[in-house]
Every structure is written in structure tokens, then in C-alpha cells.
């Protein structure tokens, strides 16, 4: 038992928690990005995808809880480590130069915090519809395939990104995210012990590659909206069956 | 003073076995009642501390370093000899013994040297078991190289860092015991005085280098493993803190000091570059395996090395010693370098240097192979000198490196003071007048791992444990002496720094008692040393206080002891009116400049007893008898 406690207290263990939860989050980010890219396939596809997710029911909640746990543990371990690191060098150097470390690796706490704020903002924006409620309730969508009226995710996203401030905030956030990911992924492999001179050739490139992928993949959507590649679909004036608490604003023309 | 070497009787091959069989033992349950104080944590000290603690004794180990791993053993580069005969090239215990006696120019005790050769094989096994990463062949077996004047490959090595790896091995064994609580480690504590009670070594006085606290420690036996005194020359390859204090303190308390004039000058050091220089850097002797030593044929030839054609170069070692060539023993190679420089054929600043040229080896083996063998040494050379040894030859010059002399010990490694045991370079025992390459590591570990654990038991079996504590008046007196000395240093308030005195003494010793000595140079030194000493005690300036980390104060104590010891060294060199090994009296040389021994008069170890007056020590002689190796003129031609 005491050895288990020691294990849990150990810095190496904390790092392992951070690495595993980080990799889970990266897995989620890949899936999320692939889903989002359906924006380019038009409203029918992405709205169907969103519906599909909703229909997962308990499974969706399982994933959501999993992600909440992963985020929670990731944040918990970062607090643990950051506190320890702060204590490990109470007096700073007058002059300190970095030798081999990347900018990203030295600013993980900053980029991590930025991402945390962004995630909250992002959830308030597109999941809870508290920011920009108008665009959130921009009207329902009648599925061409089934005729079902669903939440018009497509138009919600387009309307959101048509606001340049919002787009810029997403672009900024993605820069932080890619910076974080570029160090984090490689680092996670090393923390989990995946590194030797051969493996390093791959692991050292995974981080930057993923960071680039996220940057291009995720940013293609706001940029696509801004340059007009992704255009708003005609309003169908339907109310999504999924928005139960319609605020009944002038813009929201409920049937 | 009685010099009983206690060499066991019988054939040389059986002496050690016989001795071990006859040695008294301490009952296992009684061992923990004994406390052993060990000063020094290098190869000899750390290996002894670890092994004695494993046996069950209580051990207190002292070092002035911040960690036992910093001891200067760590800097040994080349390797460690052992008569394993893994190479099937004709090596044997007898041959290692023979080579060592001959290499020491017949001034070492046969019995001790044979034992050294015997236990050498156990050392390798022990170190391998500890995880020392010796170099290996592709088949996974240990590899060897030939080293410094040996005609067989018996040197084990770990890159160019053999001393480091062996020390880290001993340090790990010591750390294990510290972790287990059987060794109490006292770091940043300098030994200031030895305490005798009724003529037996029963304790030491130390100064905590951080707080300045002076404390005394009592034990049932004391071990000194405090290294050599090459820093008497100021510029040497020894670490900055290496000193003679423990040896000198013991000597002043009555321990015989043997052959202090036997100092080794290493042939391959980087030449001095300027006045400010604090120490010389050694390049491993292994470089001589592939490098060729040469100087211009003509004196005062100022051309750059590559402008001197082949037929105007003098590969003097190959010329004078055809069978050993560039691998001739250290004393011979060093003196030959001095000789050519004295002839005005030296190279580099001040004409004090000779070339060590790798171009032939690079042509033969390729730069890659040379880089594999010596890469780190080449880098080191380039860092220090700013020159690239791949394209231009290195410049080397001899430098003080090792001291064969030291406290006299018997076969049990006990000094003339009962209870005071001396290990490693600090004793005089195994190398005679010259030490062969890769034998220092061997001796340090042999003493610590395989000799002292047996012989100290024999001594302790006759001692009642814990009888004396540091409440004894002798301890109070010793502490008061040390305190008095410290306050004396601080109260002089003169004009000169400790370093300036050390430099002055070193220069004098190097010129007058260095690679070549003569009656007149020694007499001159004997006149100058007391003068420098007198000025030191009247004009040194030690700033700061006693109760803090005070590097000037530490240095003052060491320099003060060097200033007394140097006198004895010159007296010994003057008394030994012959040339042998590292001791070269210019009056005694053959026609072609080789050392000329005088076995009639000097086939003995000179053991000096302190008389109360440093100028008039009493001389005792331990006659050396050679029953197994025929006394012969050493020839490396």
C-alpha cells in the first residue's frame, strides 16, 4: 500500500498520468477534427453526423465523462507538476539561456492555460449556445434523407465564424493548441518510455506533424467561412427538435 | 624507530596465503564494536571503507571534497593492469611481478609486489561484478591493451576514463554502505591532525570546511588513503587540492616517511602556457601507442612542424630504445624529452615541448580509427591548446604526476605508528623508484579491497574496542594545537598570498629537485626552502575568518606543510647518491645518459624519522633483498 502511495506521489507517475490523458485528448482531437471537416461536405453530412453523435445516447455520455476525466486528470497533474517545479527553483537565475529546448516546450503551462480557457469558451459557444445564442438557434434543418428536423449545426458554425472576432479567437486558440501538441505528443511518448535512437526519429516528428495537421485541419473551417468557401445554407426556419429551451428571440422564428 | 617489514617467510608464491592463514581474526559479532576512521575516499579509501563496512566494522570516512566521487583517482585515464593473461600472450602473475619490480628499478619490496600481482586478477572480477563498464570485444569478452612499457597486453580500460569508472565502482559500493548506515560519511571535512594515545593511532582532528568547526574523532584504528604529494611542485597533473598534510602530520607524530624523493614525472602532459597556469593537464600515456615522439634534428629550428622534412626529424625514443621505442617507461621517456629540450631542440613556447605525432598512424589506420581510440583526448587537447591534433602534431612535455614515496608501511600496510594504516599512493610500498603505467589504480584497489580487510583484522584482534574516546586529554590537546595553527595563519596579516608561496616553492622544487637533481641543486634548494618558509610564517596574508568557508585558510595549511615536507624531500634526494627510476642524480649516469644505480650502497628504502627539527631528520634503512628477481641494470634498449 505504501508503495502504491509512493507510486501515486512520484513525479514519474504524475508524468505518466499527464502523458496518457494527453494522448487520450489528442485522440479526441483527431476525431473531432475529422468530424468537423464534414463542414466541407455540406449541411446534410455534418448535421447528420451531429445527429449521429447525439443518438449515441449513453455511449456519448461515456465518452464525454471520459473526456472530462481525462481533462481533469491532465489539469490535476499539471498543477502538481507546476507546483513542484516552482518549488524546485525558488531563486531564479539572473540570466538563463535555453539550449536545445523549443519555445513550445518552455511554454506548456501558458499554452495549456490558454487551451483551458478556450475549451470553456468553445463549449459555451457551440455546445451550450450561451455565447452567440442567436447563431446557436439559427434555425433547424430538415434532413434530406429522412425529413427529420435537426439542429442546424452547419449554419450555426458558419454564422459563428462569419463574426471576424470569433474567427480570430479560434485561430489564436489553435496556435496555442498546436504549440502545446507539438511538444506534448513527443514528450508523452518519451515519458511513456518510447524512445531510443531509432524510435526517436519517429517520436520526435509526431508532435510537430500533429500540430501542423491540427492547425490546417481545424483552421480550414473558420478560414473557409471567412473566404467564402463554406457558405451559409438557406434558412429553413425550422426549429431543431433538440433545442428544448428556445429563448424566443426575434431572430428565432419558431413554428 | 623499528622497521619490521613482517614479510612472511616461505616461497614468494605462498607468502600471502600463508599470511592470511596465520592472521588473527575478529569474531563476526565483535566486529561491530570496532570503529575505523578512514581519511580519503579515492580508490583506496572508498574500496577500504566499503569492504570493511561489509565485514561488519563501523566506519567513519572523511573527505575534504563535497562528495567521495570527486577524489583525484577519477582523473586516471589509461587503465588498470591485471595478470589475467586473457590475451594468451605470455602474461602471468610472475611476469607482472617481475615487470613491476624491474620497472621500479629494484627499489620495491618483492613480497608486497608479488601480492599486488596476485590480487590484481581479483580486482578485475570485483569491478566487473560492480558494473564497471570495461571495454569489450564483439564477442562480449574483456579486451586489453598494452600500456606504458609492458610487452604484454594486460591493461583493462574503460575508454579514456578508467579511473573514473573504477572510482565510481568503489563509490557505488561505498554509497551502498552509507545507505545501509554502516559507513558514516563526512564530506567537506579536512583531516588536520592525527591523535596518538600511548603511541597508538587513536583518532584524528578535522576541520569542517563549511562551518570551520574543529572536531576530534576517536577510533580503534586509523587508515590514511590520502594520495600523493606531487603538488609540492605547484604545477603538476594532480588536482588542485591534493596535498601532503596527512602524510606530514603523521610523520611529525612519529611515522617513518620513506623515499620522499621518488617522484614520477609523466612524459605526456600538455606544456605550460603561461605564468597564471594553475595546473598541468595530463594526456593519457596510451597516446604513445600510436603517436610518434620527435623533435627537430637541429637546435633552435623555428620552422612549423609540417615544414620540417622527415630526414630532419629526430624520433629520439625510437632511435635510442629500438625495442620499446615510443613506449619506453615513463622516467626514461620524460628524461629523454628534457634532454632534447636542454639541447635547444624543444618546440613550442619557451622551447619546453616535444611533438607527439599521429600522422603516420592516421595514414595507416585512418582518422576514424584514431578518433575512436583517442577522440576524447584529442578534443581535450584542442580545447586547452587551441590546436587540432589531427592536422598538426601535439606538443607534450613531462609533468609531475605521481609520487612513489610516502609513509613507510609493513606487509600489513601499517606504518611505524601502531594502528595507523596507509593505503594507495600515500604509502611507499609497491612501486619502488618508478611506477609503471596502469599500476596505480591496481595498487589503490588491491590495498583497499583485498589487503587491508585481512591485515586490519589482525591488528584489531589485539585491541580492546572503544577503549579510548575523544574525551581523552590527547584529543583536547590536538584540537587546541589545530586551533592554534588556524589562528596563527589568520593573525600574520602579511603581504603575500598563499599561492605566491606555493608557486615559489614549486618552481624551486621543479628546477632543483625535479626530473634531474644534483648535489649543488639540492643544496641550493635546502638553503632556499627554510628562507621561503620563514617568509611564509611572517608575510603570508590569509583573509577572512576561521568560522566560514575560507579557501585561503585551507590553502595556507596545505602550503605550510609542503614547505616543511619539501625540505625532507631534498634531504632524501641528496642522501640518495645514486640514480634510480624517477630519481635522477646528474652525477650518476652512464655515458649515454641512463640512470646509474648503486646497489652496493643504496639497495634500501630510506625511512626518515622526525627529530623535532625538519633540517635534521633521522635516517633508518630497510634493506631490500631480491631473491626472485635478479638485480640487473634496467635496460629498455
Amino acid at each position: 500500500m505504501s508503495s502504491l502511495l509512493q507510486f501515486l506521489r512520484s513525479t514519474v507517475f504524475t508524468k505518466i498520468v499527464m502523458a496518457i490523458t494527453g494522448l487520450l485528448i489528442i485522440g479526441f482531437l483527431i476525431g473531432h477534427m475529422l468530424g468537423n471537416l464534414l463542414m466541407f461536405a455540406g449541411p446534410e453530412k455534418i448535421n447528420a453526423y451531429a445527429l449521429g453523435l447525439k443518438n449515441l445516447g449513453p455511449l456519448l455520455w461515456l465518452v464525454r465523462l471520459g473526456m472530462i476525466a481525462a481533462f481533469g486528470l491532465h489539469i490535476w497533474s499539471s498543477i502538481q507538476l507546476a507546483y513542484r517545479n516552482k518549488m524546485a527553483r525558488p531563486v531564479q537565475y539572473d540570466t538563463k539561456k535555453s539550449l536545445k529546448s523549443t519555445f513550445a516546450s518552455r511554454t506548456m503551462l501558458v499554452s495549456g492555460l490558454a487551451i483551458l480557457f478556450f475549451v470553456i469558451y468553445h463549449l459555451l459557444h457551440y455546445t451550450f449556445g450561451i455565447i452567440q445564442p442567436n447563431t446557436y438557434h439559427a434555425g433547424g434543418y430538415r434532413m434530406e434523407s429522412t425529413g427529420e428536423i435537426v439542429h442546424h449545426v452547419y449554419n450555426m458554425v458558419v454564422a459563428g465564424f462569419q463574426n471576424p472576432y470569433i474567427s480570430i479567437s479560434y485561430i489564436l486558440a489553435l496556435i496555442f493548441l498546436s504549440s502545446h501538441v507539438s511538444h506534448a505528443t513527443t514528450s508523452a511518448f518519451h515519458t511513456l518510455g518510447v524512445m531510443n535512437p531509432n524510435a526517436k526519429k519517429i517520436t520526435s516528428k509526431i508532435g510537430p506533424a500533429l500540430a501542423g495537421l491540427f492547425l490546417v485541419g481545424y483552421l480550414s473551417i473558420p478560414i473557409g467561412v471567412m473566404i467564402g468557401v463554406i457558405k451559409k445554407a438557406p434558412d429553413q426556419k425550422y426549429v431543431s427538435t433538440m433545442t428544448k429551451d428556445c429563448p424566443d428571440t426575434p431572430d428565432c422564428k419558431c413554428e | 624507530m623499528k622497521l619490521e617489514s613482517n614479510i612472511p617467510s616461505g616461497p614468494i608464491e605462498q607468502k600471502w596465503d600463508k599470511h592470511r592463514a596465520e592472521a588473527k581474526l575478529v569474531n563476526p559479532s565483535n566486529k561491530r564494536k570496532y570503529r575505523i576512521l578512514i581519511v580519503g575516499s579515492g580508490l583506496a579509501g572508498a574500496s577500504a571503507a566499503a569492504t570493511l563496512a561489509e565485514l561488519g566494522y563501523n566506519v567513519d570516512c572523511f573527505t575534504f571534497h563535497d562528495s567521495p566521487r570527486r577524489a583525484h583517482s577519477i582523473a586516471a585515464q589509461g587503465g588498470i593492469n591485471a595478470a589475467k593473461n586473457y590475451q594468451n600472450d605470455g602474461d602471468s602473475i610472475y611476469r607482472l611481478f617481475y615487470d613491476t619490480v624491474k620497472g621500479g628499478d629494484f627499489r620495491a619490496r618483492e613480497g608486497n609486489v608479488y601480492r599486488l600481482a596476485q590480487v590484481s586478477v581479483n580486482i578485475i572480477d570485483q569491478c566487473v561484478a560492480q558494473g564497471v563498464p570495461f571495454a569489450r570485444e564483439y564477442g562480449g569478452y574483456l579486451t586489453n591493451r598494452s600500456f606504458g612499457g609492458a610487452q604484454v597486453s594486460r591493461t583493462f580500460y574503460a575508454k579514456g576514463q578508467t579511473g573514473q569508472q573504477l572510482l565510481l565502482g568503489a563509490y557505488s559500493a561505498l554509497s551502498r554502505q552509507i545507505g545501509a548506515g554502516t559507513v558514516t560519511m563526512h564530506t567537506r571535512n579536512e583531516m588536520m591532525e592525527l591523535v596518538l594515545v600511548d603511541g597508538h593511532a587513536r583518532g584524528i582532528v578535522t576541520r569542517d570546511l563549511v562551518t570551520g568547526k574543529i572536531e576530534s574523532w576517536s577510533g580503534d584504528a586509523v587508515i590514511f588513503a590520502t594520495g600523493g604529494y606531487s603538488n609540492v611542485f605547484y604545477l603538476s597533473t594532480n588536482a588542485m587540492a591534493c596535498n601532503v598534510t596527512s602524510i606530514w602530520r603523521a610523520h611529525k607524530k612519529g611515522a617513518g616517511l620513506a623515499n620522499p624523493c621518488f617522484t614520477q614525472i609523466h612524459p605526456t602532459s600538455i606544456p605550460q602556457q603561461g605564468e597564471y597556469q594553475a595546473k598541468l593537464t595530463l594526456m593519457s600515456e596510451s597516446l604513445r601507442n600510436d603517436g610518434r615522439v620527435w623533435v627537430p634534428l637541429k637546435a633552435n629550428d623555428n620552422r612549423a612542424s609540417h615544414d620540417i622534412p622527415e630526414n630532419e626529424r629526430d624520433y629520439y625514443l625510437e632511435r635510442k630504445y629500438p625495442s620499446f621505442g615510443n613506449l619506453s617507461p615513463r622516467d626514461i621517456a620524460s628524461r629523454a624529452a628534457k634532454e632534447v629540450c636542454d639541447e635547444g631542440r624543444g618546440v613550442g613556447p619557451g622551447g619546453r615541448g616535444v611533438y607527439l605525432d599521429f600522422s603516420a598512424a592516421i595514414n595507416r589506420l585512418g582518422e576514424k580509427t584514431i578518433a575512436e581510440r583517442y577522440g576524447n583526448l584529442f578534443e581535450m587537447y584542442e580545447r586547452i591548446s587551441g590546436e587540432n591534433p589531427y592536422t598538426s602534431p601535439m606538443r607534450i612535455y613531462p609533468a609531475p604526476h605521481y609520487t612513489m614515496g610516502g609513509l613507510w608501511v609493513d606487509y600489513n600496510l601499517m606504518s611505524t605508528i601502531p594502528g595507523l594504516h596507509v593505503l594507495g599512493e600515500a604509502n611507499f610500498s609497491d612501486h619502488g623508484a618508478n611506477r609503471l603505467g596502469a599500476s596505480a589504480l591496481m595498487q589503490g584497489l588491491a590495498d583497499g579491497y583485498f589487503v587491508i580487510p585481512y591485515t586490519i583484522g589482525h591488528y584489531l584482534a589485539g585491541v580492546k574496542p572503544g577503549e579510548i574516546t575523544n574525551e581523552h586529554p590527547e584529543f583536547k590537546k590536538a584540537v587546541a594545537d589545530v586551533e592554534g595553527r588556524v589562528s596563527k595563519f589568520l593573525s600574520i596579516n602579511g603581504k603575500r598570498t598563499t599561492s605566491s608561496f606555493h608557486r615559489e616553492l614549486g618552481m624551486l622544487m621543479w628546477n632543483n629537485c625535479g626530473m634531474a637533481r644534483s648535489e649543488s641543486s639540492l643544496k641550493e634548494a635546502l638553503q632556499r626552502i627554510p628562507e621561503i618558509r620563514e617568509e611564509f610564517w611572517n608575510n603570508v596574508n590569509v583573509v577572512g575568518s576561521a568560522n566560514e568557508l575560507n579557501t585561503a585558510l585551507e590553502h595556507a595549511g596545505r602550503v605550510a606543510d609542503f614547505l616543511e615536507f619539501a625540505e625532507l624531500m631534498c634531504i632524501d634526494a641528496l642522501e640518495r647518491d645514486e640514480s634510480c627510476g624517477g630519481h635522477f642524480r646528474t652525477e650518476h649516469q652512464t655515458e649515454d645518459g641512463e640512470a646509474k644505480r648503486d646497489d652496493e650502497k643504496f639497495c634500501h628504502s630510506s625511512v626518515w624519522e622526525y627529530s623535532g627539527d625538519t633540517a635534521k631528520p633521522n635516517l633508518h634503512k630497510e634493506q631490500l633483498t631480491f631473491e626472485n628477481v635478479k638485480l640487473a641494470t634496467r635496460s629498455y634498449k
Binding site: - | R69, P133, A552
Partner: protein, 247 residues
């Protein structure tokens, strides 16, 4: 050359430290950095001022005593070089040189540039050894060790324990030091019986000493005068995980 030096001066562990400025002229490019400090100290002593205390001993780059942050880099500007082996030809006339001690709570400053690195010793004492008593060993050639393993062990064992890795790490982590020892013994068959116990004990001690964590920035590897690779850290992590999951 003429240099302006800005050096950390601190009387003892408990006192406040401060930077002091010194101007040193006639610095020869062939001097080592420590010889430059020796020269400064000689001048200070002649003015009855306390010399700058710094740890040093072998001056050959192997004992690991010297330890100072020079212009923001451990052991100064030259890579794979200890302070004692750094020569003044790496500086220019008129340069400002800032000299500070290692900074880490596990390495308290004792005086000026001298820090207490005994934490490293305690990490080794916790498990950085093979438990073999003197006299137990079998013949050295009974156990063939593949050359690549022996070489890798040697590379890890080359650590001199100077603490530059801790000094360079933004988190003051001692992972490279600890990992080098874990790896050295982990590569060798002699180290196997205690492999799991060793890594757990050493990591535990490392944590107890108050070092920070490894965030894989690799600054330690760049600062290491012996070029010890960060691969050793991954090996430690692997050994640690294995020891916990299957130990």
C-alpha cells in the same frame, strides 16, 4: 583582454546574496575560465577582500566539482565542456560575463558559487549500485556482455555528477543524472537482479530531495559536459513503469 565580471557573492547558506561587479584586465586568451577567476582572487586577496569561492579540483573536466552558470549557460558557452576546460579564447575583449551558482532548492548555495550537491550522493545511496560484497565475484569473463551494451553502459556511466543538467533544466529536475545511473546498470547483466528495486528507490529519493520534474525539453542533454543522452530518461521511465506494473 579586459572583462567586466558580474559575480554572485553570498557569505553563507543563510545570508542574502548579491551580484558584485569586477573589472579584470590582462586576461590571456589561453587562460582557462578558472584561471581567470584565480587571477581575480589573487587581486581580491591583495586588497584584503574575500576571494570568490567556487568548487573546483581536477581541472581536467572529470571530477565534476566545477559548477557555475556563465552568461546563462551551465559551464559556459562551449558545449560538452566543463568550466575548468573552458578557455578565455571563447570570450571577446570587453565582454560582460555573468557568473552565478547552480540554482535549485535541492542544491542550496553554501557560499558564493559553491552549492551543496549531496542530494546526488543520496540518490546513489538509495540504489545506484550492484549489491556485491568484495570477494564474491566470479571471473570477469564468465559473463560475456555484448559490446553494444557495454558501450551504451559506458556512455551512461560517463556522468561526472556536476549537476549541469539540474542547473539547465527549467524545472531543476535531476532526471538525467538519475537516469544515467539507472541506465548504466540497466544495460549490464550484473545490474538485472536489482533493476526494478533500483529505479523505484532512486526515483523516490530524487523526489524526496525536491528536484522538479522532467518535461522532456532536452536542455539537460545539451548542457551535459559529457553529452549524456536523454534516451536514458526514456529508459528510466520504461523501467519505472515496468517495475510498477509487473514488479
Amino acid at each position: 583582454m579586459k572583462l567586466s565580471l558580474k559575480i554572485w557573492r553570498q557569505k553563507n547558506k543563510n545570508s542574502e546574496g548579491i551580484f558584485k561587479n569586477y573589472v579584470l584586465s590582462d586576461v590571456s586568451p589561453d587562460m582557462s575560465f578558472l584561471e581567470m577567476l584565480d587571477t581575480l582572487n589573487e587581486q581580491l586577496l591583495s586588497k584584503n577582500e574575500d576571494p570568490v569561492a567556487f568548487d573546483h579540483d581536477c581541472r581536467e573536466g572529470i571530477c565534476g566539482s566545477c559548477s557555475m552558470m556563465i552568461n546563462g549557460k551551465p559551464h559556459g558557452p562551449e558545449s560538452k565542456t566543463t568550466t575548468c576546460q573552458l578557455h578565455m579564447r571563447k570570450f571577446k575583449d570587453g565582454d560582460e560575463v555573468i557568473v552565478e551558482p547552480w540554482r535549485a532548492s535541492a542544491f542550496p548555495v553554501i557560499r558564493d558559487l559553491v552549492v551543496d550537491r549531496s542530494a546526488f550522493d543520496r540518490i546513489i545511496q538509495a540504489g545506484g549500485f550492484v549489491s556485491v560484497n568484495t570477494g564474491n565475484a566470479q571471473d570477469g569473463n564468465t559473463l560475456p556482455i555484448p559490446k553494444p551494451d557495454a558501450d551504451a553502459a559506458m556512455d551512461a556511466a560517463a556522468c561526472i555528477g556536476c549537476g549541469a543538467c539540474v542547473a539547465a533544466c527549467k524545472n531543476a529536475s535531476a532526471m538525467l543524472f538519475t537516469a544515467a545511473k539507472v541506465s548504466h546498470l540497466g544495460y549490464l547483466p550484473q545490474g538485472q537482479p536489482e533493476r526494478q528495486r533500483r529505479v523505484l528507490k532512486m526515483v523516490e529519493q530524487m523526489d524526496n530531495e525536491g528536484f522538479g520534474n522532467c518535461t522532456n525539453t532536452n536542455d539537460c542533454e545539451a548542457a551535459c559536459p559529457k553529452g549524456i543522452s536523454v534516451h536514458n530518461i526514456a529508459r528510466l521511465n520504461r523501467d519505472f513503469l515496468k517495475a510498477k506494473l509487473f514488479g
